[in-house]
């Protein structure tokens, strides 16, 4: 099942990152795709903040992998744009995927063949200057369950947001 989070503003993208962050554990793999400027790194920053990575999380395009220490888990932030599949294969990414932390891969579709069997695909589509459509496609039972939980979290979030909106305009 596919799960879609509509994010009309950057704040709503951050809200999605917060909801997702509540589900992660060791060995989580988030395979992120989206065009240049879609906000993959922005999403990664929001996600990192949500799992308690202190300080600046900046682009890993040049260095390919940046490692951080979060509140409970290490965070491995990758950008595989400038790698070929063969080069990525030689980097030994498996050690990260099956490691102690959470891996977020930008431009993940480039290395589709060497991603672990279970992962959550997250596609960020640009629908306007600040609005984004975030499409999650789970691979494996664990991530299918995540999508069901995300659906509940989305409902809670929207209800909460609407209530705040109403109280502000009373």
């Amino acid at each position: 099942m596919e799960f879609i989070w509509e994010a009309p503003t950057e704040a709503e993208t951050i809200a999605f990152a917060n909801a997702l962050a509540q589900l992660v554990g060791p060995g989580t793999v988030l395979a992120v795709d989206g065009d240049l400027g879609a906000g993959k790194t922005r999403f990664a920053q929001a996600f990192a903040a949500a799992i308690g990575v202190p300080g600046i999380v900046n682009s890993p395009t040049y260095t390919i992998i940046k490692e951080y220490v979060g509140r409970a888990l290490p965070f491995y932030h990758m950008d595989v744009y400038r790698l070929s599949l063969a080069e990525a294969d030689e980097l030994g990414l498996d050690e990260y995927f099956h490691g102690e932390g959470v891996t977020l891969v930008e431009w993940a579709s480039i290395i589709q063949q060497i991603l672990p069997l279970e992962r959550l695909h997250i596609r960020i589509e640009t629908t306007g200057p600040v609005s984004r459509k975030i499409i999650c496609s789970p691979v494996g039972q664990k991530y299918e369950e995540w999508c069901r939980q995300l659906e509940r979290k989305q409902l809670e979030h929207v209800t909460r947001r609407n209530r705040q909106h109403e109280s502000k305009h009373k």
Partner: protein
């Protein structure tokens, strides 16, 4: 790892500290933090006898052409050849080496490991001290290979993976006062180059296109908070993409050279204005430009002109010394050699390594 190995290094450390200032020494340095395998032989921390960079040697003569070297296996394939080439070109023999320096971090763990293992092996086999070195300290001290650094100095580090303003209140003491919150300058150039349909890495094409442009699409400047020396370039990248989209929606073809000029001017304005402001606030006596993007013509010219206006001396390494290379690692390692601050053989490659913590005396 036996305890006696560490003891041997500590003993060496004591010896080096007591070397007379006149005694000459030879340092072999290794850099494998990212794409390049590089080995240099440097006399007395400043005199470069050889500085071999894998992508710049005649690969057809040496081996079957294996660049770029992102994968650590590629570093493994080339490290021995490049060490030999560095020794040969320096016209010395391995036994003449007095110390071995290596990039300890930051960088890709697999790539760093190759250099670290090679350096440890050489240190152990030759029984000479090992000096784990910070990659960015290397970029900054590349300036010491072309001139004298006067303190306090301010370094503007602009490369593919880094954009930082580093204050050096005294020799070997690093304080980061600003850094990028998203893309490094080099990344921003390469991403805009992608939007302008240049192949990766396209930064140099954007520089060239901007130089040749007759028109400019004026793009926003990202100054962040008034008192911040941090940088942000991802909004600028989005502005370029938005301009391209706007043109296409109107059925026009976007003016790539005017966009390149607009992008370049925005980046250069922000980095140079922040650098000059910091130079004034901290009362520095010299500006140091370094990192791969220091080869950018537009940036060099603007910074030179702004420094000239206020009479602030500016150092910029040659293009070869701006890119990732081992001579710069030797230049930074010299700081530690002169203070007898050596690493033990249990030195670890550190993908995240703090520049400030690498300062001398810490």
């Amino acid at each position: 790892m036996s305890a006696s190995n560490n003891t041997a290094n500590v003993a060496k450390a004591a010896n080096a500290g007591s070397l007379s200032p006149n005694s000459s020494y030879l340092l072999l340095a290794i850099e494998t933090s990212c794409d390049e395998t590089s080995v240099a032989v440097v006399r007395d921390g400043r005199n470069v006898l050889s500085n071999i960079i894998s992508s710049q040697i005649d690969t057809h003569r040496q081996f079957g052409g294996v660049v770029p070297e992102i994968a650590s296996r590629k570093h493994v394939e080339s490290i021995t050849i490049i060490v030999e080439e560095a020794i040969r070109e320096a016209d010395i023999s391995l036994e003449n080496i007095d110390a071995v320096a290596v990039t300890q971090g930051p960088g890709l763990i697999g790539a760093l490991l190759v250099g670290v293992v090679a350096a440890k092996s050489l240190s152990l086999a030759l029984d000479v001290p090992l000096i784990g070195t910070h990659h960015i300290a290397g970029h900054i001290y590349a300036n010491h290979l072309i001139g004298d650094i006067v303190y306090p100095a301010l370094a503007l580090v602009v490369s593919g993976g880094h954009t930082e303003l580093v204050l050096l209140e005294q020799e070997g003491k690093f304080r980061i006062i600003g850094r990028t919150r998203d893309d490094a300058v080099g990344e921003a150039y390469d991403k805009v180059a992608r939007a302008l349909q240049f192949p990766y890495p396209g930064g140099p094409y954007v520089d060239k296109l901007a130089q040749e442009a007759t028109e400019e699409v004026v793009l926003p400047r990202s100054w962040l908070e008034p008192d911040s020396y941090d940088f942000s370039f991802s909004g600028l990248k989005s502005a370029v993409l938005a301009e391209i989209n706007r043109s296409r929606m109107k059925g026009e073809s976007p003016d790539f050279s005017a966009l390149a000029r607009g992008f370049q001017n925005s980046v250069i304005d922000v980095v140079t204005v922040k650098a000059m402001k910091a130079a004034k606030e901290f009362g520095v006596k010299q500006m140091l430009l370094c990192g791969g993007v220091a080869a950018n013509k537009g940036l060099r010219e603007r910074l030179a002109s702004l420094c000239g206006d206020v009479g602030l001396p500016l150092l910029i390494p040659t293009n070869k010394l701006c890119t990732d290379n081992a001579a710069m690692i030797a230049a930074a390692a010299d700081l530690k050699w002169r203070r007898g601050e050596f690493s033990t053989l249990d030195l670890k490659a550190e993908p995240i390594l703090s520049l400030e913590d690498w300062s001398v005396g810490s």
